[in-house]
């Protein structure tokens, strides 16, 4: 027992070291590219730092962004415990946001007492995302469909549903007052926006932060301390043996995809109610795919999801500011992100304990 614990510790240290090395390599590459395009490195670095954590506002924006990655990542490791790969985060964010926007704008919840309006919208997003995720589980157990393929297709469908929902006034598009009215929804009522923790708009950390922390703990407990977690693990290791042992595979698989989808939907409602306040084309901004990558690189660990989510959140924020303040194209950040993903995915076999493949 102590022996395996020890090996486990060593494996984790190696994984942390490799992850830091990949991030460091990407940062160095980023600096080199900044120099190549002829921007002063100190200017670029200070713009990056300013945008990532330089002010209370920037810090809060980075953390809010990380929350989205974290929720999708948590959903990913949950399904991954059963050896299932959920590539559907992007679509789950989109349908969650559609549901939340519908409830916020037309659900009559703005007038509800004690700010319950925003809670109902978040619940609606969870249900919508959960159902979107559960489709993947149903197809998996009923038709044997490869979940990577079905969840990927559902992602694209979800993204285009969101696009479609703001093209018509019969759906979520704001009333056309002139020919230049943009194809986007109305801004959601103030009562449905997420309450800020500090009550200060200069530091817009919202209630999603404590919620995400609670959910991270819940996911950790579910994975390691509950019968459901054990069942998932059994299904993942050997579905046949799990079935023989009397584990209800159908409900486990559909259930875990519902849960992963609900987390994705919640992420979408946080993007809407905590940050963007309207939905329009391109709403999900690839955050679902970033969250999937965060979940995958975390290799099943909740702490890994949190670390990865914060990393991606800060890098994204810093990159956006670098483009605005130091005219460094934000595509540079994409290059850095790509290098981190590719090198960590490639190094996964050295990071897994006992070199096992997942």
């Amino acid at each position: 027992m102590t022996g395996t614990r020890f090996m486990q510790g060593l494996g984790d240290q190696k994984a942390i070291f490799l992850s830091l090395a990949a991030v460091a390599a990407a940062l160095v590459l980023g600096l080199v590219l900044v120099a190549v395009i002829g921007v002063s490195i100190p200017d670029a670095v200070s713009a990056f730092a300013e945008g990532a954590w330089g002010s209370p506002y920037a810090l809060a924006a980075s953390i809010n962004r990380s929350l989205v990655f974290a929720l999708v990542g948590l959903g990913f490791i949950l399904a991954n415990r059963a050896n299932l790969t959920n590539v559907g985060g992007e679509g789950q964010i989109a349908v969650g946001a559609i549901a939340a926007a519908g409830v916020c704008l037309y659900g009559g919840v703005a007038a509800m007492p004690l700010g319950f309006g925003f809670v109902l919208a978040m619940l609606a997003a969870c249900v919508a995302g959960g159902v979107w995720g559960a489709i993947v589980g149903v197809l998996k157990v009923k038709a044997g469909t490869n979940e990577v393929i079905s969840s990927l297709m559902l992602s694209f469908i979800g993204v285009w549903m969101l696009y479609g929902s703001v093209q018509s006034e019969a759906m979520l598009r704001q009333p056309m007052t002139s020919s230049s009215t943009l194809p986007e929804s109305l801004e959601i009522p103030d009562a449905t926006k997420l309450p800020l923790l500090t009550g200060d708009a200069g530091m817009p950390l919202h209630i999603g932060l404590p919620l995400a922390i609670v959910l991270a703990i819940v996911v950790a407990v579910v994975l390691h301390r509950t019968v459901f977690g054990l069942r998932l693990r059994a299904v993942g290791l050997n579905p046949l043996a799990a079935r023989k042992a009397g584990i209800a595979i159908t409900s486990s698989v559909i259930g875990v995809f519902f849960a992963a989808g609900a987390l994705g939907g919640l992420a979408g409602s946080m993007m809407l109610q905590g940050e963007q306040y309207t939905i329009k084309a391109g709403f999900s901004s690839g955050y679902g795919f970033d969250g999937l990558v965060v979940g995958l690189l975390a290799r099943g660990s909740v702490a890994g999801v949190i670390a990865g989510a914060l990393l991606f959140g800060f890098i994204r924020s810093g990159g956006i500011n670098m483009e605005m303040m130091a005219s460094v194209p934000s595509s540079l950040v994409l290059v850095m992100q790509g290098v981190i993903i590719v090198s960590l995915a490639g190094a996964a076999r050295w990071m897994d304990r006992e070199g096992e493949r997942r």
Partner: protein, 309 residues
């Protein structure tokens, strides 16, 4: 008279369907080969974008679209080798490496494009002219609207036929198919599963690059940032909808091309169909197919599974 107008519209529709389908046909034909060999290449999108970018840059610097095409094909090789090395040698997760490569390529091409062309975005690049084929090109109305296309269109159709024939009737095709369905048998027969899969991924890269070049130097004669905008994912959807068979896959590409062409044609006819519906139709069709609602699906048994001896 209205017959003339009607057939002209049908011809224009058929022509643009074919034109819009060709990048998908090229990407999907490549993807078909690597999926049959067991590698889900999510990086088709990135490979196409690499081809579109390098092809355009090459055409600008050499002044020749043919050399641009060659440069586009050469430029994709490192990208394809990276995908192959990660997913075959390192046995990394195929989905995440593909997404990583797509992000990397989108960032790198956007950055490099701005560095090279600066403010001259959407600058025209030397491109291929349309080719007026003998006989077919002389058919009234249709000859001009449907068959007068850049020669890459005919190359793409020939490649589909060649790949279909190779997969079905040759030892090479059997090796590819077995690498994805019975890799142990391939190994026992003395062939290297890795070598077959490396070859398949490189082939995907080359075909995707040609598809990307068709977009930039074949069709619109310019490069725009992220110009593939999901064509690579559509190609993957076409392979799935096509049930990993070349003929049905080609049909799927044409169907997807038609859905895109309709986005432009229906408003002209005064027919209101939500644009979003037509855009999502290919993905919906692929989902229904893979969900077993359109006949039985038979994905390669070892798709996305790294091979361990």
């Amino acid at each position: 008279m209205s017959d003339m107008v009607g057939s002209a519209m049908v011809a224009v529709f058929a022509g643009s369907t074919l034109r819009l389908a060709i990048p998908l046909v090229l990407g999907a034909t490549g993807e078909l080969v690597s999926e049959r060999a067991g590698v889900l290449n999510m990086s088709v999108e990135g490979m196409m974008l690499t081809g579109a970018f390098a092809g355009a840059v090459g055409a600008v610097y050499t002044g020749s679209p043919a050399l641009g095409l060659l440069i586009g094909i050469i430029a994709v090789l490192p990208v394809a080798l990276l995908q192959a090395f990660l997913s075959i040698t390192l046995r990394a997760n195929q989905v995440v490496t593909g997404i990583g490569i797509n992000i990397l390529v989108l960032g790198a091409t956007t950055l490099a494009y701005r560095e090279i062309f600066g403010g001259r975005s959407r600058a025209a690049v030397p491109g291929f002219d349309k080719w007026h084929p003998p006989l077919l090109g002389d058919i009234p109305v249709f000859g001009e609207a449907v068959f007068t296309q850049v020669w890459l269109v005919y190359l793409a159709l020939a490649l589909v036929a060649l790949v279909a024939w190779t997969l079905r009737y040759t030892a090479l095709g059997l090796a590819v198919h077995s690498a994805g369905s019975e890799p142990k048998a391939v190994d026992k027969s003395g062939l290297s599963v890795s070598a077959v899969r490396y070859g398949a991924v490189l082939f995907t890269g080359v075909l995707s690059a040609i598809g990307g070049c068709f977009l930039s130097i074949g069709d619109i004669h310019t490069f725009t940032e992220g110009m593939t905008s999901g064509a690579g994912y559509l190609a993957i959807a076409a392979v799935i909808f096509g049930n990993w068979k070349a003929g049905r896959m080609l049909l799927a590409c044409l169907l997807f091309g038609a859905a895109t062409a309709l986005q432009f044609q229906l408003p002209a006819l005064g027919i209101e169909v939500p644009n979003a519906l037509l855009i999502m139709l290919p993905y919906l069709m692929a989902l229904l197919a893979v969900g077993g609602l359109v006949g039985r699906q038979s994905a390669p048994a070892y798709l996305t599974q790294p091979y361990v001896r």
